[in-house]
């Protein structure tokens, strides 16, 4: 009897400890949101919402704090990373999930996961010593090698493991009965993948891409090292619109990290406002990922 009540106390205690841990993470998120927002209030009040969000001149010396150029910078590198990274990630996920023999999987999967473990500053170094000199050879006036293209390529590699592993899970979750059904109808393996497996795993694959977007938006150090950090609005260097990606730029994250160490007063508050905008972007991206994942799991495989 005595032993039983001891076990019950332990059981209750564990329950409370777990409950507190769960609550704690919510509190931390809310606290971060609260303090960042609180520090940014001065900027919103004195500079004004539209002057921050919609103006593209950032001159802290003259009290001009428009971050539109950084919003565009962040979105441009993210789009660049998605365009370059998604085909590569999907190709890897399809290869891992559908084609590769077990031995190759055992080699390739940890290699892809390892990409997730490389510190972002190391990606930055790689970008500086390898990518930037190569891009610099593109013969366009004003091209320094640093800029959106270098940043997009570095970011594409950085989001690869996220997208690959989630897309592979989605592909593996497609029931084998779909594959055998398709093959038994005389479809080739590739037709089975493109016409049955990928459509059936679509929601999960899209969720993976969206999580990759979230990761891309938040990346800081590697971006600072290769993007050039210009506060000017990124523009094509010549009449060719593709040279937009050779333009230097700055991301929202980079703006904060580069200036926060010496900023004071309204300047500092404007950097917190930059953080709020970033926070809002990432919440939107994560919410849409959640929505897609939910939709994926609610698709019935058979009627009950």
């Amino acid at each position: 009897m005595k032993e039983k009540s001891g076990r019950m106390i332990a059981d209750q205690t564990v329950k409370y400890i777990l409950f507190i841990s769960a609550i704690l993470s919510i509190i931390i998120v809310l606290a971060i949101a609260y303090f960042i927002f609180r520090e940014s209030i001065q900027a919103w009040k004195e500079i004004g919402f539209t002057n921050i969000i919609l103006k593209s001149v950032w001159r802290p010396g003259q009290d001009q704090y428009g971050i539109l150029a950084m919003i565009v910078g962040s979105i441009a590198v993210t789009i660049g990373a998605i365009v370059l990274g998604v085909p590569l990630a999907l190709g890897t996920a399809i290869f891992l999930g559908e084609i590769a023999p077990k031995g190759v999987q055992a080699l390739l999967r940890p290699a892809v996961q390892l990409l997730a473990g490389i510190p972002s500053v190391v990606y930055g170094l790689f970008g500086m010593v390898v990518l930037v000199p190569i891009i610099r050879r593109i013969n366009v006036p004003g091209n320094s090698g640093y800029g959106l293209l270098a940043a997009s390529i570095v970011l594409a590699v950085m989001i690869l493991p996220t997208i690959t592993s989630i897309a592979e899970d989605a592909i593996r979750a497609v029931p084998d009965s779909y594959r055998s059904g398709s093959l038994a109808l005389g479809a080739t393996k590739w037709q089975t993948i493109t016409k049955v497996v990928l459509p059936a795993g679509r929601s999960g694959i899209i969720a993976g891409i969206i999580l990759g977007v979230g990761r891309a938006l938040g990346e800081t150090m590697a971006m600072i090292m290769v993007i050039g950090n210009s506060v000017k609005f990124p523009k094509p260097l010549t009449a060719n619109p593709l040279t937009f990606y050779l333009s230097k730029a700055r991301t929202l994250t980079g703006n904060i990290a580069v200036e926060i160490s010496y900023a004071t007063g309204i300047h500092e508050s404007a950097l917190f406002a930059t953080g709020v905008v970033l926070f809002a972007l990432i919440i939107i991206v994560n919410a849409s990922a959640r929505w897609f994942i939910k939709r994926q799991s609610s698709i019935p495989t058979t009627r009950q």
Binding site: S177, G181, A184, P199, T302, R303
Partner: protein
């Protein structure tokens, strides 16, 4: 009567495990042939030999001959072979696509683009599978929204759309209720006018009702499947040559 499918001294191994031993059988054209026998006697494995679905399992080896229309089946490209030999699985497995797209899938993957033609094929296949009247107004509805029995008939329609000459059925009614089962059995009977049907079933009454010929598979402690007896269904059920067949059919084991 013509022989559609034939195996001669056919053996199959999963790695070191000898799953089927020396199976020789002639499956007649445009008749229903039932494969019966206890679990693990290799009926389903034998069935999947004909559309080479066993090729997808690593470690499977075979020897002996398998012929379709007197041609060596292993010399035919599996993709082409599977367009000639359709398959219906134990659990209905429609794709998460519309009813129309499920049936149009086979013709589409073989390169048919003409929408008018696809519509014709979808309608005639659904009619042959006795599903048209139930779904003709809902072709855009998901195949997964149908009942289990309807799903299975959709899978039959999907197989018919590729215009095969043989249909393999792996316990097609095992997951269905008695009324849905009845419909599938009626359908098998109708389809046998135009198709060679090979059906695996655990249900003796079903084998008796739907098939013209029956093959009895058996396995002993070695778990190697052997063909004990092949004959007209009425002979197998009333006057089997082998004691084991009689024991199985009368329910003394298995």
């Amino acid at each position: 009567m013509n022989t559609k499918l034939e195996t001669i001294e056919f053996n199959l191994y999963y790695g070191d495990f000898h799953a089927l031993k020396d199976i020789s059988v002639k499956i007649p054209e445009k008749r229903v042939t039932a494969l019966i026998g206890p679990s693990g006697s290799g009926k389903s494995t034998f069935l999947r030999t004909f559309n080479r679905m066993n090729d997808l399992i690593s470690g499977v080896r075979t020897h002996g001959d398998v012929l379709i229309d007197n041609v060596d089946l292993f010399k035919i490209d599996p993709v082409a072979l599977r367009q000639n030999i359709g398959m219906v699985f134990q659990k209905p497995n429609p794709f998460p696509k519309s009813i129309f797209e499920n049936v149009a899938y086979g013709p589409r993957v073989t390169g048919l683009r003409d929408h008018k033609k696809l519509e014709e094929i979808v309608e005639s296949s659904l009619r042959s599978a006795a599903l048209w009247d139930e779904v003709k107004d809902d072709l855009a509805k998901s195949g997964l929204a149908l009942s289990g029995g309807q799903q299975q008939r959709l899978c039959i329609a999907r197989a018919l759309a590729v215009q095969p000459t043989v249909i393999l059925m792996d316990e097609p009614a095992a997951s269905l209720d008695p009324i849905a089962t009845q419909k599938i059995e009626d359908l098998i009977h109708t389809l046998s006018e135009n198709y060679t049907i090979v059906i695996v079933t655990h249900n003796m009454q079903q084998a008796g009702r739907v098939s013209d010929y029956t093959a009895f598979f058996y396995t002993d402690d070695t778990r190697t499947g052997r063909l004990v007896e092949f004959d007209e269904t009425k002979i197998i059920f009333t006057n089997p040559a082998d004691k084991r067949t009689e024991d199985y059919i009368t329910g003394r084991f298995g």
